[in-house]
């Protein structure tokens, strides 16, 4: 209930949002809510997908200004497909994250978007990278972002364990998104989850009524 930073300073349509990515044993789960709002008062879309595919086994989640995030991911997709043709093999996850980072850093004055990149490559297996608002790039086993993430820092710190199974990680991600959507008024809708492993990619959508409920609901 105390004041904290929200994306409501973003002009236009903002993904006041909750995004997260977590590594499990053999792969990575990346997920988000599905609400897009204007100034925290009007929900302009209830079912937007904030998990964007930038290559076969690399996805990213966007937070901040929706327009900026879409423009940057489009540019990144192009760079990556060109890069993979040149290299004659699929791009590394860190390459995808670096492309986003370059765009965010070089245009830091004009842009207001942050990204979580998650994927699988043959060299390092499952990875998660965070590109923050000013263009910092770091690698983490689990990460959360967006306005709703404030409320689940405690939950994620307490409940994330390295080397979980795929089912445990899916449950963890669904619970975290549900908790954030329950407390943040600019996150909501359905939970979009993408599971990426060496074998391939699976999309899971958890509609509102199938989200886990907690003690007061």
């Amino acid at each position: 209930m105390e004041k904290h930073y929200t994306d409501s300073q973003v002009k236009g349509v903002s993904t006041g949002t909750t995004i997260l990515a977590a590594i499990f044993d053999g792969g990575v789960v990346i997920g988000s809510d599905s609400r897009a709002s204007m100034g925290g008062e009007y929900v302009s879309s209830k079912t937007i997908n904030k998990v964007v595919q930038v290559h076969d086994q690399i996805f990213c989640c966007m937070a901040g200004s929706l327009a900026d995030a879409q423009a940057v991911t489009k540019a990144a997709k192009f760079h990556l497909s060109f890069h993979s043709v040149q290299m004659e093999h699929p791009p590394l996850v860190i390459a995808a994250a670096s492309v986003l980072k370059e765009l965010c850093y070089k245009n830091k004055e004009e842009l207001q978007a942050g990204f979580i990149t998650a994927g699988w490559d043959k060299k390092k297996g499952p990875q998660v990278y965070v590109v923050s608002l000013g263009g910092m790039l770091i690698s983490q086993p689990v990460t959360i972002g967006g306005s709703g993430s404030t409320y689940i820092y405690g939950y994620v710190d307490a409940k994330y364990k390295p080397n979980m199974t795929r089912e445990e990680c899916m449950q963890f991600a669904t619970n975290a998104l549900a908790l954030a959507m329950g407390r943040d008024n600019v996150s909501g809708g359905v939970a979009h989850l993408v599971v990426i492993t060496g074998k391939g990619v699976e999309h899971v959508v958890v509609p509102g009524d199938k989200l886990p409920r907690f003690h007061d609901e």
Binding site: E2, Y153, D157, K159, N175, A176
Partner: protein, 216 residues
């Protein structure tokens, strides 16, 4: 050095940017707080106990402006003493919370403190009341202070009705530890107060005894 700024504790308001929590369990309540008091970016007290007694079995947890919070607690302590002498028995937790709410509401423009009131009385057992900005509401648990935002998800997920006393104490300590790790304005040691029909216990958990999590 050129242009060295004056230390912040000389000019900034002293706040208990903080994490406070109170939870009801089967037969009583547990209150918890961190111990950091800051003035701007300086920590002016790293061992302050933010759990203040209002009566034998009623405590409150302070957050927001340190001066405002302490003053409200002292005033209500006095008013409760008078009240309990008038009625000839121990006051109800709801009465204490109402006194706090009356002050918070009447002076809501001038004050910036949030107190959580919790305790045990014979009629209703353990109770927790939130008094933010002058509202009065009974809740199974309440969190407050700047660090509380980070643990809403954790508390929502993990709270269960009718926990035992030990489970509840562990839950409060875990929550405080998580919040202190993420909030720059919370830290130090964890203070705990457990109130049930048998009495009131005060506890301190030092920094190195706090629970740690996967990335520590």
């Amino acid at each position: 050095m050129l242009g060295e700024a004056e230390p912040q504790w000389l000019t900034e308001e002293v706040k208990t940017g903080t994490t406070i929590i109170a939870i009801e369990f089967n037969g009583g309540v547990v209150l918890g707080s961190d111990s950091r008091v800051s003035a701007g970016q300086s920590v002016v007290n790293r061992v302050m106990n933010k759990l203040s007694p209002l009566h034998d079995k009623i405590y409150c947890a302070l957050s927001g402006s340190a001066a405002d919070a302490q003053t409200i607690a002292e005033m209500v302590n006095y008013q409760l003493d008078v009240h309990s002498m008038e009625i000839g028995e121990d006051p109800q937790v709801r009465s204490a919370a109402t006194l706090v709410k009356n002050i918070s509401y009447k002076y809501k423009e001038e004050l910036s403190a949030h107190l959580i009131v919790a305790g045990w009385d014979r009629r209703e057992g353990g109770q927790v009341f939130a008094t933010l900005k002058g509202l009065l509401t009974r809740q199974p648990f309440a969190v407050g202070g700047s660090g509380s935002s980070y643990v809403y998800g954790f508390v929502d997920a993990e709270y269960r009705k009718g926990m035992t006393k030990k489970d509840c104490q562990q839950f409060v300590v875990n929550t405080l530890s998580l919040a202190m790790n993420r909030d720059g304005s919370s830290g130090g040691v964890a203070y705990l107060v457990t109130i049930d029909e048998h009495g009131t216990e005060e506890d301190v958990i030092l920094g190195n005894d706090l629970p740690t999590f996967f990335d520590q």
